[in-house]
Amino acid sequence: MFAIAAHELRGLFLSPLAWTLLAAFQGLLAWIFLVLVDDFRALQGRLLGLENPPGATDLVAAPLFRVTAWGLLVLAPLLTMRLFAEERRSGTLDLLLSAPVSVTAIVLGKYLGVLLFLLGASALVASMPLSLALGATLDFGKLLAGLLGLGLLAASFAAAGLYLSTLTVQPVVAAVSTTGLLLFLYIVDVADIGREAFAGPFGYLSLARHFDNLLLGAFDSADVAYYLLFGATFLGLAIRRLDDGRLRD
């Protein structure tokens, strides 16, 4: 299983795709980070007058993470699309299936590989607000909660992308359907606009709502459980799908 994860990670870095994505991701977020820091500096004077002023964590880190989440939404499908679609197309899936490795280990190995990459990308982003600790006071609790949220989000995205990649031999189809699905689940709560947060069922379904809670520093095990269930469901589906494939195609 770890052999597969390591292979997957290395495979990513052997292709220019991963580097390009990482560079674009990092570059865009760095720009946004700078803009946010600038805004914060401009606001700082007025904030001092407030009784319980929002700090750098609320005004820089949280919005940055919110944008990072959107970034992951674009990044994850591009990374997961190849996972099985490509192997199926090039016939290398046979190598894995004929090896003394269970289907579960294959799926988890590949998942782990991509997840590590996404977490690495998120960690790089997180290093930007962390650098503010040099000159400002940060709320590390909130920061950690936000990071945890990013990690969980990445884990969910990767699981969904992995499953959709098992359904097709065309990586592009996998990428597009993953983006579509994730986008839908991310914004599904627009149906609830105008109602109280979490009032409607759509709010509860939304990937974004649970993330917002964590960004505000509210650690609710229900939110964490939501992401874990989300990820486990798609991984389970992927394993089933591959086992079925041995029976069917």
């Binding site: 004929s98 269970s102 041995r246």
Partner: protein, 310 residues
């Protein structure tokens, strides 16, 4: 009696309504090279994919080196090396990286990987290309890397799906030699639709047609029992009936243009009688070729659905 490495019973696999493999039963022992022969779509690849555990059978049992493939898949798979029709290689890796990855997948100890990769490369003639990218290798080399990844973990059973396809004559010779060597201490199953291939490297042959096993024999038996014949060419041929009267001739086939195929009992070719008759009656003999066409004829008769004339 040598050790049985593969036992297959009643193997069946459907694709929709089509029975791709239908109730196939056979065994393979150590030191045997078993050739699967059949026209395209006969179920050769499907059978091999099921043996390798890539495809699950609808019915039947596969036991590899004493482990049931369905009950103990990991143990059974460890005992098998598989080269699919399309070598399962990552184009973006070098040969060394690919082999190391395959070794890890097959659960070889980290410490032993270097040794087994080195040994296998030497065996398959890959020592020179270890650092090359697989995507840049020629088809013949890729095929060799495919075989290398199949025998890395030294499995008792090696399954090769069309190992000689797309090779030039020299590579073909090397490949035959390699397969011959493998047959010395492994059990090898290979598929092909080339008859000479089977005659050159296999010890046993099985013919599949439309998913059914229609013929199985040791090649040695086949040759011994082979209904041999003699092909002759005559410039002034008599009628077939007259040729049939030559002592030792069982049956005459008129091939047209003065050519005939004379069937005779094994080991009793009537060369001399043919030459004498031709000389005495002025038939003008210009060709006399012994034919060992047993396998080819059986293959054609079986796969075209005709009866084998014994």
């Amino acid at each position: 009696m040598s050790e049985l490495l593969v036992q297959v019973e009643g193997l069946t696999r459907r694709y929709g309504d089509v029975r791709a493999v239908d109730d196939v039963t056979f065994t393979l022992a150590r030191n045997q090279v078993l050739g699967f022969l059949g026209p395209n779509g006969a179920g050769k690849s499907t059978t091999m994919r099921m043996l390798a555990g890539v495809l699950a059978p609808d019915a039947g049992r596969i036991v590899i080196a004493g482990h049931d493939l369905l009950d103990l898949p990991r143990r059974a798979k460890r005992a098998i090396g598989y080269l699919p029709e399309q070598p399962p290689l990552y184009r973006e890796l070098t040969v060394d990286e690919q082999l190391r990855y395959s070794a890890r997948l097959h659960g070889i100890d980290r410490a032993a990987i270097r040794a087994s990769v080195g040994r296998t490369k030497e065996r398959c003639g890959l020592t020179e290309v270890g650092q090359r990218l697989i995507g840049n290798l020629s088809k013949g080399y890729r095929q060799r890397v495919g075989i290398a990844q199949a025998i890395l973990h030294d499995p008792p059973v090696v399954v090769l799906d069309e190992p000689t396809i797309g090779l030039d004559p020299i590579q073909l010779r090397d490949m035959r030699k390699l397969i011959g060597e493998l047959g010395e201490n492994h059990g090898v199953i290979l598929s092909t639709h080339l008859l000479p291939e089977v005659q050159a490297i296999c010890s046993h042959v099985q013919i599949l047609n439309a998913g059914r096993l229609v013929y199985a024999s040791a090649l040695a038996d086949l040759e011994r029992r082979g209904r041999a014949c003699l092909r002759i060419g005559l410039s002034a041929p008599p009628s077939s009936e007259i040729l049939a009267q030559i002592p030792g001739v069982e049956r005459v086939e008129d091939l047209g243009a003065g050519r005939f195929r004379l069937h005779h009992p094994p080991g009793a070719a009537p060369h001399r009688a043919v030459i004498e008759h031709s000389g005495a009656r002025g038939w003008g003999l210009w060709e006399l070729t012994p034919e060992q066409a047993g396998l080819e004829r059986i293959f054609i008769e079986l796969t075209l659905g005709q009866e084998v004339a014994e």
